[in-house]
Symmetry: C2
Subunit: 88 residues, 2 copies
């Protein structure tokens, strides 16, 4: 995928400007940035003493936790599907 | 799940101390923190001019991107499984 076309998305997250570079389309990249922005604001509401770095790290931690749990569920589902296919 | 037992994990992420609170076990919470720490160091290696806040935000953005793509794949797999089950 080294020749894949790169997209540059200019986004604002928690009041700072970022240029994101990726292979996804612009709409998707803006959506991801906006979900991260929302999450940071949500965590801030729950603990207003957190600085921006801590807010961002905790957002990353929460999202990583969600990702790893979903990955487990995905692997289990895939196994279930393979078992079904073997039965056919 | 309001009565679920909460775990407190004391972890270090990118040189800062955090107390994570969650319903997962201590081992899982430490593992999540360590994956986030690794990701931040990986992004730093690729761009050494980034400050800690930007590193943390970009880690959150990358992880959210992975999560949302996995969610799509999970939903597609679930649909495939349901279709198979309907055929049986």
């Amino acid at each position: 995928m080294t020749q894949a076309k790169k997209t540059r998305a200019n986004v604002d997250i928690y009041g700072k400007h970022y240029t994101l570079v990726g292979e996804e389309d612009l709409h998707h990249m803006r959506m991801v940035a906006s979900v991260v922005d929302d999450k940071m604001r949500e965590i801030y509401q729950a603990n207003k003493s957190l600085d921006t770095t801590r807010l961002a790290v905790l957002t990353a931690v929460n999202t990583m936790n969600d990702y790893l749990k979903l990955k487990e569920a995905y692997d289990a589902l895939e196994q279930k599907l393979h078992k079904k296919e073997d039965q056919d």
